[in-house]
Symmetry: C2
């Protein structure tokens, strides 16, 4: 980790040299949108930090910087209040850091949005006897409800949808699977703290059959005849469950095609997966 | 806004009454997962806040509370450091508040995950002459590249995918459209600050034809013959663009079916949209 203080900014100086270059400034990395990012890593007193921040802000203004990002690790929580007092707002936070931001220009800000969605998966796993893999949960919305449901879960940060589905089935039931298709998905808003959720129903093919349920979250797990699953009052009472059951039933008779996944490269060179209807391409 | 201080907790007291009920405690709302949430609204000095928090924590421990959530508006940034010092970690932040959390039990925490994804849309809009609506952008990754691309954008918090597509097309080109289908989507990781992105290609039907481009973001907009769009070197060089072009071309000849959207109600009674292959159901 390097010191966050430097005697000159790493930005090209577009204006006349100013007095602020003589004093200490916060060390920055430029982004590709005319902004700068400060990664404060070492403990610092606010008495030291505030003059540095003010001098840096003056220089950034002169240089025509747009967005200023300051990332404060949680161990530097002492600098949150001083940063806010200088006019910064919160952008986002993770367990171990808080990101603050300041938009310098007079024009409306074009800063990237905060993440808005969690990603959930439900796994439709059917064996050769047309039985589906179902579980009863110990916690959450289905606790004490006598409902047999698909294994479900939340994708981890950085995890692909199809990978998350395979992982959750393995964790909850010990069944190995391979990904077939995304059959459908739902978007629901205001799930938690105003955030939305995208829930993907994934069809997986079982590669093993012996269930060994996880104890902490799962009350029971079994292979259940499709008809029995679909006849559950809860499934029929809830529209979204009914749709999913109908789609899965249709798929199980080869009357439905969802979206397969292929590895692709995004235009910025990042590995990604694209999901589309292969059958019809 | 009510005072965050109350003389008794709103939680049912499962243990013997303790001395902590005599002193001031932070006012809480219980969640359905055995947790409590504190919404600090009024300005408070840390000298007042810290004893309240400590007394409250003791009571919550006795009561078997699991997760403790503290929501601090940005105007109360002075309480961030004291809360962290009491062992809380960050959970998430929006522009105007920071959410901190503490998991009391010895067991691993089952707190809901922070939002992990932004949602982007690209709009495939084709007129009766088989021309597609394309734009050139002033900023971002496509600035100074001579590429004609679909209108794209980011879904606002709480906005449905199909609505976002219609809005972005209207904003960038003034063309009115109606939603047809989601043709494909991509999931890309590490887009911004470790977060992932889900990008949905939406087919929209134009309801108007006269382009009136937005000036701040859009350099140019036009209806372009499909073949010309697809012949662009950039499209052919990038795998994900090539897939999308192929899918859209196939769709334009009625050889492809994507996912339509139907309004549904989630099991928790929240309005949602489910996307599935209607043609095959």
């Amino acid at each position: 980790m390097s010191s966050p203080i430097t005697s000159t900014s790493s930005l090209p100086i577009r204006e006349q040299p100013s007095i602020f270059q003589q004093v200490g400034l916060l060390k920055v990395v430029e982004d590709s949108y005319g902004g700068v990012k400060v990664d404060v890593e070492e403990p610092m007193d606010s008495d030291v930090y505030v003059p540095l921040l003010r001098a840096s802000m003056s220089q950034w203004r002169q240089q025509g910087v747009k967005g200023v990002w300051i990332k404060l690790p949680i161990k530097l929580a002492n600098l949150v209040e001083p940063t806010v007092k200088e006019g910064f707002r919160y952008h986002h936070a993770e367990s171990d850091y808080l990101m603050l931001v300041y938009w310098i220009p007079e024009t409306p800000d074009t800063l990237p949005a905060n993440a808005s969605h969690t990603v959930g998966i439900g796994a439709f796993v059917m064996n050769d006897n047309r039985e589906v893999l179902v579980v009863q949960e110990k916690n959450g919305a289905f606790r004490d409800k006598d409902v047999w449901k698909f294994p479900t879960g939340v994708a981890n940060q950085g995890e692909d949808i199809w990978t998350a589905a395979i992982r959750e089935v393995k964790e909850e039931t010990d069944i190995d699977t391979e990904f077939v298709e995304i059959l459908a998905f739902s978007q629901t808003h205001m799930k938690f703290c105003g955030k939305s959720d995208l829930f993907f129903v994934c069809m997986l093919r079982p590669l093993s059959l012996d269930i060994n349920k996880q104890d902490s979250e799962i009350k029971a797990a079994q292979w259940m005849p499709t008809e029995e699953y679909m006849a559950q009052p809860y499934i029929n009472k809830h529209e979204s469950f009914k749709y999913v059951a109908k789609i899965c039933s249709s798929k199980s008779r080869n009357h439905y095609s969802g979206l397969c996944s292929v590895p692709t490269m995004s235009s910025s060179g990042k590995k990604s997966f694209t999901y589309f209807n292969k059958l019809q391409l």
